[in-house]
């Protein structure tokens, strides 16, 4: 029951996003907050860059030995009384979760934030089959009230203003008296906390994701700031972990390396508030904790990525830094990308998971400024991977005719350097002539789409190549 994608209508999504005043207000916070906080906390740790190398190397090593680490991990989980289930597809994972819920007689399920849960569309599936899922992360809870997808992988409701959230609370929490002040984040959080406390205590099953799986100990790790994930997994009869194959790391020491770059890259914290290692179900003498512990290991196209050009993408630890630093994300937000994973990481991952025919527009939504790669804690070459997709899209004749014609024309000149220099020289002179009064153009033939949203600066003097040649000649 994979979540339906609107990625094929990416361009329409973008058009709508650019004129949505609420979205634009909400997005203005992303740029200022996340970037400054990450920089500050990275600057405080002299070893940060070395830790990024280390995190990259750990993931590369694990991926190269994934079958063996998965075996070791499974063995440890079973030794501690847990169960491991394998899901080849999103549908398989949903069915396994539903079967477990049925065996446990579960009516309601609390959920910690899980991107895998979003990817496989588990909420819709459970709901259609008579089990009520309740999201407990505040951001996820809000988007569940609205029936939306998250617009950011670590801040799911980042696209909303507080006024919008207040309106949703008033619409759904009908027990609220009209005069209750609900205008501030504090009061909204208090309300959500009170409502969700009841749900935590009543739930039969808790489903969480996993930031990492540790082969050495058979543990799953969740990282949260709210504590919702911990209540989700501690209070019900059973804890189900949804995790994909690439979450594995070998040892506790390796996990420590990863954790040091995760929180810093994600929220700019030294450490998230709660980092929880869970190993198996409640033990004989325990007074609390889940009676059963299940892990659903999802493949859903990842093992295929392991063998191809996109293997690097499997290092991703879902920190969100790439989207926090992306000028395209800042302009259009996460929903425009049309599926679960937005921003640069989504532009690379989404075509792998749902097909380049559906998501081919996403890798085009990049200026290739390179900021995503600069901040990615596991050094994924995101621009390069997006370029691979562009090439594939072109090879498979999925790009539109105008783009192909334009590229063909450019290729014609690019292969003939003299002609290229001649033609661009003329173009520069013509543009300089017409642009001499204002210094920029509000409209240009054949570039109406571009100039509709911004002005084109008129050339200052000769072309770059001509200037370069002059400079080289002048050198002794």
């Amino acid at each position: 029951m994979t979540t339906v994608a609107t990625s094929p209508r990416f361009k329409d999504n973008v058009r709508e996003a650019l004129v949505d005043p609420n979205l634009q207000t909400a997005l203005s916070f992303v740029e200022v907050n996340f970037i400054a906080r990450r920089q500050e906390v990275a600057d405080k740790l002299p070893e940060f860059e070395q830790l990024r190398d280390s995190a990259r190397d750990i993931k590369n090593h694990t991926l190269a030995h994934l079958d063996l680490y998965l075996e070791a991990y499974e063995q440890r989980v079973v030794a501690q009384g847990g169960k491991v289930h394998y899901a080849v597809t999103a549908d398989d994972a949903c069915k396994i979760a539903l079967d477990l819920c049925r065996q446990l007689g579960a009516k309601t399920v609390t959920k910690g934030k899980s991107m895998i849960g979003e990817e496989i569309g588990i909420n819709a599936f459970l709901e259609a089959n008579g089990v009520t899922p309740v999201e407990t992360d505040l951001g996820e809870y809000i988007i569940q009230l609205r029936g939306e997808l998250p617009s950011h992988i670590i801040a799911p409701a980042v696209h909303l203003t507080k006024a919008q959230v207040e309106a949703d609370f008033r619409r759904v929490h009908t027990h609220l008296p009209h005069d209750r002040n609900m205008a501030e984040p504090e009061t909204m959080l208090a309300e959500a906390r009170a409502v969700l406390r009841e749900k935590f205590l009543a739930a039969d099953v808790g489903i969480t994701g996993a930031n990492f799986l540790i082969a050495e100990t058979g543990s799953s790790i969740i990282v949260t700031n709210e504590g919702n994930g911990d209540l989700t997994q501690t209070l019900p009869k059973a804890h189900i972990v949804l995790a994909s194959i690439e979450k594995l790391v070998p040892t506790l020491e390796d996990a420590a390396q990863m954790l040091r770059v995760l929180a810093r890259s994600a929220t700019g914290q030294e450490m998230s508030v709660y980092t929880t290692l869970s190993t198996g179900p409640r033990r004989a003498e325990d007074l609390d904790g889940p009676g059963e512990y299940h892990v659903i290991i999802l493949d859903n196209g990842r093992s295929a990525m392991l063998g191809g050009q996109f293997r690097d993408m499997l290092r991703c630890i879902r920190c969100g830094a790439c989207m926090n630093h992306c000028p395209v994300y800042h302009a259009v937000g996460g929903h425009a990308y049309g599926w679960v994973y937005p921003g640069p990481m989504g532009a690379v991952l989404t075509p792998s998971l749902i097909g380049v025919d559906k998501a081919g527009n996403l890798p085009n939504a990049s200026t290739f400024c390179g900021r995503c790669e600069e901040v990615c804690p596991v050094r994924i070459p995101l621009p390069k991977l997006m370029r691979h997709w562009r090439e594939r899209e072109f090879e498979r004749h999925l790009s539109p005719g105008t783009v192909r014609a334009g590229l063909g024309l450019w290729a014609f000149f690019a292969r003939r350097p003299r002609l290229y220099g001649f033609a661009t020289g003329i173009a520069a002179r013509v543009l300089t002539f017409f642009g001499r009064s204002r210094g920029r153009f509000g409209w240009l033939p054949l570039a109406g789409g571009w100039t509709k949203h911004r002005e084109f600066p008129s050339p200052q003097g000769k072309t770059f190549q001509a200037q370069w040649q002059r400079r080289m000649e002048r050198r002794p």
Binding site: V273, L277, D299
Partner: protein, 225 residues
């Protein structure tokens, strides 16, 4: 083929391996057994007093509060002071932890004490930390009947008793201590690494303390490091 076999076959075909290659198996076994440390930040590499001071500084930066006492005899007074400061009822719940059991709670006669996990009805809990990491101001809590996990999350106020000598400089040292206590490849059911009170910034990125877990986290450091 069942799902497990399909996933393994698919991984192996992508990696062009069969899983039986001796060098690969050795490399994995060695890493699991040897668990090499990677890059360990020097920040926590300090003499005991300075290490404790770093823990306090980092915990306070994460909005936790810390008080130091000379011995466990002074823990009841520290708990009482904390509760009175916030006008909280003088009642706490704790687990059966030996150390907490040895605290002379009667030194604070008005303090009402109950023992067991939390069901959400208690306002304040007291637990005993396995240790702490100075590097980031993080408490390391291990689940057991002595310190049930629910005490870490359900009450609004969480008081943690920490022995000054249990503060490590970095995560690797704490991991070593866990391994020493629980054995190779084993962990208690839950290890909670806690850095400050619960919070959310999901609405317009405004940071608010007290999301689903405790609104206040108070650490009572006992003795000399």
């Amino acid at each position: 083929m069942n799902a497990r076999d399909t996933v393994f076959a698919s991984i192996r075909s992508a990696l062009a391996v069969n899983g039986q290659e001796a060098p690969r198996r050795r490399e994995v076994a060695d890493r699991l057994a040897g668990h090499p440390a990677g890059v360990v930040p020097q920040r926590g590499n300090l003499p005991p007093q300075a290490r404790l001071a770093l823990f306090v500084k980092m915990m306070e930066a994460a909005a936790g509060t810390v008080t130091a006492v000379a011995s466990i005899d002074e823990v009841p007074a520290a708990v009482g002071t904390f509760l009175r400061r916030y006008n909280l009822p003088l009642a706490v719940r704790r687990g059966g932890d030996e150390k907490l059991g040895g605290v002379p709670w009667s030194n604070e006669p008005a303090l009402e004490m109950s023992v067991g996990p939390s069901d959400g009805a208690q306002l304040t809990s007291v637990s005993h930390a396995f240790g702490a990491v100075a590097e980031t101001g993080t408490l390391v809590m291990t689940a057991s009947p002595d310190n049930p996990t629910t005490l870490n999350f359900l009450p609004d106020n969480h008081i943690v008793v920490l022995d000054a000598k249990d503060v490590s400089g970095d995560f690797e040292t704490s991991i070593g201590k866990l391994r020493e206590k629980y054995g190779a490849g084993a962990l208690p059911r839950v290890v909670n690494m806690i850095t400050g009170p619960s919070r959310s910034a999901d609405i317009e990125q405004t940071l608010i303390l007290g999301a689903h877990g405790p609104r206040r986290l108070h650490v009572v450091v006992v003795g000399e490091p």
